[in-house]
Amino acid sequence: MTVTVSGHLPVEPYDVAVVGAGVVGCAIARRLAHHPGLRIALVEAQDDVGQGTSKANTAILHTGFDAVPGSLEARLVREGARELAAYAAESGIPVERVGALLVAWDEEQLATLPRLAEKAVRNEYHDTRLLGPADLYAREPHLGPGALGALHVPGESIICPWTTTLAYAVQAVRAGADLHLGAPVTHAGHTDGVHRLDTPRGPLHARRLVNAAGLHADTLDRSLGHDDFTVTPRRGQLVVHDKFARALVRHILLPVPTALGKGVLVAPTVYGNVLLGPTAEDLDDKHATGSTAEGLRRLREQGRRILPALLEEEVTAVYAGLRAATGHDDYRIAAHSAQGYVTVGGIRSTGLTASLAIAEHVTGLLADTGLALGPRRPPEPVRMPNLGEALPRPHQQPDVVAADPEYGILVCHCERVSRGEIRDALAGPIPPRSLDGLRRRTRARAGRCQGFSCGAAVRALFEEAQR
């Protein structure tokens, strides 16, 4: 099991290098690791997995009802959703099938709903149902006044995106893939059938290359001589509300897309919070992950219309993520056989849902480039710590606390994270390199007090583990 964060990268060429340890890159590495004969490297610029687009999304497991019918995205989302639902159940990844309501606030949006229902059918999704205002308000009594109706999509679910990415990476690493963190690829070249990736930690060589670099996929693609797409970072700011808000909303409340653009959504999270967002701002800067006063003002204005009582609840986090918009309305997944190179570009917000199907698809493309996959051995199942509210957390299980009292000692009180869970995360196969990494693994300091009560204690545990 190899996870590195510093020092020289191995000299020996890998069979496959996957650049980018987001949800898609990790899924691909995990899928390739089904073949014990392959030497696989997963190369990541940041100090942790899932640090780009994967960590700042709306955490929805889509049905694909509104994809472009017949597109690759539509197929991969449809297949991926089924696979991920099964995988989540097996791996302990929190998922709640809360269903979505596309709420129409004006006549134009109302007129759009039947067309969306037809589109769902063309995407092989048959369970949508149109709701009148009475049914809608019965389902969502806290909804703001003025809603005219809704399309109910019962299959839409919420998921923990972070645990999903980590589960993939853990399985990949346990099955023998090497994870190299802190290794941004500054240049890529291909000579004599071998790719050379230059990083500040020295070069890394591989016979096959998968570009899952997300926001930076176009840059890597160009350094290999292709000019298929340009990634425009689209910033999405999101506001997370405290757990008391969870009682205000039962479904994912989706905006109805119209000619004038897409509004914002209000969605519960598996941790028991409520999300409001995202904004959609096309930018040039691929590092502009800051929130803005204007963005927050507009989100709250829109949120007030959708769910007025939400605005009274405490905000526990504000964050901004960058989605990889390409100007194309489908994924940009392409194999360049002669180069032994597969680009996985333009993976938009559906990437989390489609991740397992993308991995399968990419593995097929790699085989088509002549890569001998060798025998297949399914990986050991992984069991992830539960961060969700739908299933009991460790402190709520008397047998768990009796067996190990550390699970009864709560350190982070807002999110009820025990010392045992923090200890486990710090000793995990891919340990956190920062307090933020620890927060993503445990939710410690993610609550309403943001560390007022527990911050120093959590940091003490983290620093002790670093020594």
Binding site: A293, P398, V401, L435
Partner: protein, 413 residues
């Protein structure tokens, strides 16, 4: 799951909870105090500065915390640290978890003393990136005084109240530089001597009329963008920022239990005997009014102890349920007053009221009325009421309250 019974269950071992526990245990009640932290004492545990206890025996916070805990234990209260009250299991029963596992504790009376917290950056909707180096005073003091952690080298303090100056002191004690205190009001909201001391002795700028509009930096904080109300903006380079003040009650347990909350304080609504809306459940300390001094909290703990004793004597007899639990009428502080606690009133109430104002009020006169009927008028000829200090209203007028009437209003003439 084990289940036990006690006379009084106190949630929170800060000054308010420990004082109530001491007095009730001394009076012979079986008292248990639940404290989720590993040591008792509440916020004073990490306030290294003096100013606790009573003159001439001024103490540091940690000493004060130790003495409070020791006297509660000496009186016979069972102070259980590392035990978290999770939720309600009945009107006066709580589920808890600790290293010994889950328990249900049923009590004849419950005293909520869960305290307050400062609102962190996210709740204040301060835009920008999410770097490391962002603190509240509570976290900063614990980091420095309890754990000896490194907190950075240059800190901007958001706020200029007393707690902000305490945070600045902690920053300096940790060997770091205070870049500035930044505050939105045009006048520094601390005692003038305090502000002068910061400016002259420590040469720390106190920037009034100024807001922090953005946090900058990836990974670690690199600076904060500030804007003066005249429109000028600047970047203050720093690697640490401390959000101070803006306390809110830790009311989660009260809210989970469905207790009535007061809209002004956001804490549980209580009458002059510190009774909440549920018979047998009392609330004391900063959960009532985030945040007043440790001395105020202790005074309320002592006052509630008397009311709890009365309840244990008269209220919990068979058939008496609810008879000794007057509900009172709401007591509302009208703008520019911001809040009042207690915030319900019954004719028998004798406990003084604490008010906070949103604006400075020179020589205020407070009028207390019910349904347009004047009940009381109180003058403060020598005082200017200011936002950062409480104003005390006596309870000499409560016998005039009509318990069947409408809300009682406190207004400023």
């Amino acid at each position: 799951m084990t289940s036990r019974r006690v006379d009084v269950l106190v949630v929170g071992a800060g000054p308010a909870g420990l004082t109530a526990a001491s007095l009730l245990a001394t009076a012979g009640a079986r008292v248990e105090v639940l404290e989720r932290e590993q040591s008792p004492g509440g916020v004073p545990r990490h306030c290294a500065h003096r100013g606790f206890g009573t003159w001439p025996h001024a103490l540091t916070g940690p000493d004060h915390a130790r003495i409070l805990a020791a006297s509660a234990e000496h009186a016979g209260a069972d102070v259980r640290t590392g035990v978290t009250a999770l939720d309600w299991a009945g009107p006066r029963a709580l589920t808890t978890v600790g290293p010994q596992g889950a328990e249900t504790v049923t009590a004849r009376a419950v005293v909520l003393a869960t305290g307050a917290r400062e609102r962190p950056r996210a709740a204040r909707l301060v835009p920008g990136t999410r770097p490391a180096g962002v603190y509240t005073t509570g976290e900063l003091q614990q980091a420095v005084h309890l754990y000896g952690q490194h907190i950075g080298t240059r800190a901007v303090i958001v706020g200029a109240e007393a707690v902000s100056h305490a945070a600045a002191g902690t920053v300096r004690a940790a060997g770091a530089e205070v870049v500035a205190l930044v505050t939105e009001p045009a006048r520094a909201p601390a005692a003038p001597a305090r502000t002068l001391d910061a400016r002259l002795r420590h040469r720390t700028p106190v920037l009034t009329g100024t807001t922090v509009t953005e946090l900058l930096g990836h990974g670690r904080l690199s600076g904060v963008r500030v804007r003066h109300r005249d429109g000028r903006t600047a970047i203050l380079p720093c690697d640490t920022v401390v959000f101070t003040g803006d306390f809110v009650p830790d009311h989660e347990l009260a809210r989970r239990g469905g207790l009535t909350l007061d809209p002004g304080t956001r804490g549980p609504a209580v009458d002059g005997a510190l009774r909440t809306s549920r018979p047998g459940v009392f609330a004391v300390g900063s959960v009532l009014h985030a945040a007043e001094s440790a001395a105020t909290a202790a005074r309320e703990g002592a006052h509630a102890a008397t009311a709890v004793r009365d309840w244990l004597t008269d209220g919990t007899a068979p058939g008496a349920e609810g008879l000794h639990w007057p509900t009172g009428v709401p007591l509302v502080a009208d703008p520019p007053l911001r809040r009042i606690a207690p915030n319900r009133v019954t004719p028998g109430d004798r406990f003084p009221y604490l008010l906070r104002t949103a604006l400075p009020l020179p020589r205020p006169v407070l009028h207390v009325t019910q349904d347009g009927r004047p009940l009381h008028r109180e003058r403060f000829p020598l005082t200017t009421a200011v936002p950062h200090r409480p104003l005390t209203l006596t309870a000499r007028w409560t016998h005039r309250v009509d318990p069947a009437g409408g809300p009682v209003h406190v207004t400023v003439a």
